[in-house]
Amino acid sequence: MTNSLNDIRHAKSMIFIGSNAPEAHPISMQHILYAKEKNNAPIIVVDPRRTKLAAKGTDYVRIRPGTDAAFMLGLINAIVTNGWEDKEFIRTRVSGYEEMVAVAKDYTPEEVENITGIPASETLRIAELLANNRPTSLTWCMGGTQHHIGSSITRTFCILQLVLGNMGKSGGGTNIFRGHDNVQGATDMGILADTLPAYYGLAEGSWKHWCKVWDVDYEWIAGRFKSKEDMSKPGFTLARWYEGVLGEEKIYQDTPIKALVQWGCGSNSNSQYTRVKRAYDKLDLLVIVDPFPTMAAVACETDNVYLLPSASQYETSGSVSSTSRQIQWRNKVVDPVHNCKDDYQIMELLVKKLGFAEPFYKNIKQLPEDITRELGKGSLTIGYNGQTPERIKLHMENWHTFDVDTLQAIGGPCDGEYYGLPWPCWTEEHPGTPILYDVSKSVAKGGLPFRNRFGDEMKYEASGRVENQLAAKGVCNPGSEVEGGYSEFKDVVPGTNWKTDLSQKTIKDAIARGMAPFGNARARCVVWNFPDQVPIHREPLHTPRPDLIAKYPTFKDKPDHFRVDTRFESEQKPDLVKEFPYVITTGRMVEHMGAGAETRSNQYLAELQPEMYAEINPRLANDLGIRDGSMMTVESPEGAKITVKAFHTERVDEKTIFLPYHFAGILQGKSYADKYPEGTAPYVVGEVGNAVTNYGYDIITQIQATKDGLCKIAKA
């Protein structure tokens, strides 16, 4: 999130696309409804389903799954055509604008209607609504990302906000709600396949940086890899790790994956789940660390599974990072019960047994405060260094002194600081950055320009134009020594830059000069190293509109994409829709969480939502003879088939089937309920919805495309 949940209270309008906050983020709703009530701010909900958020919204726009980019480009085109763009913001702080507009102009309201199903008049009406109610807070969630063009779709969201001039402003911003209380922290700590903690990447310099932080010899670490090339090669992703086990697709590493540790990972959130299950059976070793036995624990039918019961969040303590980039301290309520251990203990025991505890635990004496200190010391890219455990705890103890609207402490020991020291918090004196890219405040007081990362000048392939990438003259934070754009800071300490200077002299020097360590640049509409330099619409791999493939085809197949080939062009079969005529999309329900191992084990939540179901429009259901509450089958093009209860509702249209993804314990009709260790079976088991989500992955991130597949259905 560029802003915070609380800052949404200042929005004059809100647009949610691929986000259903009442089910997925109920707490955020108090701020959303506050803005609606106090500011008369319209809540625009763009979603294939008329969701619970739509029930609280003022404007609902039903969109065909996977066509979000087309709608956004349509809005941008309508805004630019009518002259509603923020011309000064674009002139001073945006790059590649002309090149972007040249692409967006093809998305006329009529063309958008053809692609998305949204009436042309609605596109114009929403564009005008946004133009007249600035700033707009824009929110997306998994519904915006889980597509083969997810990385393009999210960029169109950002570009819309740039065009409207809504970035770096209170009440504006791109506010992506994270799904759990510490997902932002988990992401920051580098759970992705292509980066070390804090987005340092996997390059040699990145490894050397972290080796210095850990006080571990780089050559020793390098020696543990087969080669230095392997060390810098992105690994398998969460979405497709099983390809490394199954051997059914070509993989780009010497040996298949033989062992897997799933730590706090409910596996039935993986698409293509029948293949995931087969991979479990093929592994030599599967270790599951979780407070509850997950679906993986029972789906794996070979004798290779170890369950390590871990403590819940109430039985341990430590720092967590919220969706608003705030760091908070979580206090232990009770000691771990039964035979479980907390995650720190499990990790320490494992590392000791593996024989490298000595080099890795040098800085860690007082768990978990030392862990927070060590990760903060290294995570300079995102300014995690100012949030010491002492400061975090002081904020928790003085919660009542912070203002609910601004998040700033009024008096008291944290006077002037922002709650949770939202990153970047550059130094131990810095108040935190409540709104990213806000040039109205000095950097020392929580302001920030756009980051300079990819050079000072760019020549665009599409137009041949050369453009300076730094912010225009006169645009900078108050007190900046340079009155305008400037490059990122380096060689303040020779041989280092602001990200790698562990003495933090570079960062402190920059702030003393009123400048941001990462420079002052423009936000880019053109990304030269992406296949679509300006984001465009491409038809979903499995599309119900094959007539659009010629004009909006997918990408060429991508080899060695996180160590495995990914099919795009060869997977986009125009005839598929004849046999699989309905769109399948998935999502959350408020009663259950993620893969549901925890919530389905709570008797009261189980009571509220005791059964897996599919949402189906009454008209479609009646045409096919599927009665409300009777059983129906859902079958994927990959051959998986589940039998679930039909739930008639007009939330979905006549072409779309919706499945919640929280259920597990039954896979394609076969129950695994008796496979749970005695006394640990959840109260509720149900078909794994992800058994029938389709093949398809994002071209950049490889996130699974679970929101826009195809299926066929029948009365069971």
Binding site: K12, P26, Q30, E37, K52, G171, V652
Partner: protein
């Protein structure tokens, strides 16, 4: 002290059932007994609305009037409670209640229903405050601790308000007054062009 009241602001209720689960978990209510429920109208259609309902602790409570054994009584603060040791499970209160609040844990078609259970406003029961027996039969006594009922305390959007009726009314009145008072105040764009 004035009487206590519940108020559910339907413009704020998002049908998350947080109140239901808080009530059950906090008072160890058996599965199948619902002291509180969220009702949704026009689910998935334009105009969808949700409201959280429990015993409303009525002023002239019909359940008290119909109870043949005088098991139900009203405290000075308006909280309506049942004495489970007196209740014979006849179910008259359920027929009389305009909100469907009374619950019968052992209910089946011809069998005995067991003592009636319902929302206590988190005020326990006739037993001694904080006694083990009170907790076992009725759940927590948060009122005696000076706290609001769990359901309202847990509400994510503060749709559900509970407590001293004057204060509840003030909170709601302020909320109604505040609606439309901020940056996009009604009529401002027409009256005073920016």
């Amino acid at each position: 002290m004035a009487r206590v009241k519940f108020l559910c602001d339907v413009d704020r209720c998002i049908d998350c059932s947080g109140c239901v689960v808080a009530c059950k978990e906090g008072n160890h209510v058996p599965v199948g007994v619902n002291r509180r429920r969220v009702i949704t109208l026009d689910q998935g259609k334009p105009g969808e609305k949700s409201i959280s309902v429990s015993c409303m602790h009525c002023a002239d409570a019909p359940c008290i009037a119909v109870c043949p054994v005088d098991a139900i009584y009203q405290r000075a603060d308006g909280i309506v409670l049942v004495n489970k040791k007196t209740c014979i499970g006849c179910g008259y209160c359920f027929m009389a209640c305009p909100f469907g609040a009374p619950q019968f844990p052992k209910g089946n078609v011809f069998g005995a229903r067991g003592a009636m259970d319902k929302c206590t406003f988190c005020a326990g029961g006739p037993e001694e405050d904080f006694s083990a027996e009170e907790k076992h039969l009725y759940g927590q006594n948060r009122i005696a601790e000076g706290k609001v009922p769990l359901c309202a305390g847990m509400c994510a959007t503060k749709a559900l308000l509970a407590g001293d009726a004057d204060i509840v009314a003030d909170v709601y009145r302020e909320r109604v007054f505040q609606r439309g008072s901020g940056v996009n105040a009604w009529g401002w764009s027409k009256a005073y062009k920016e």
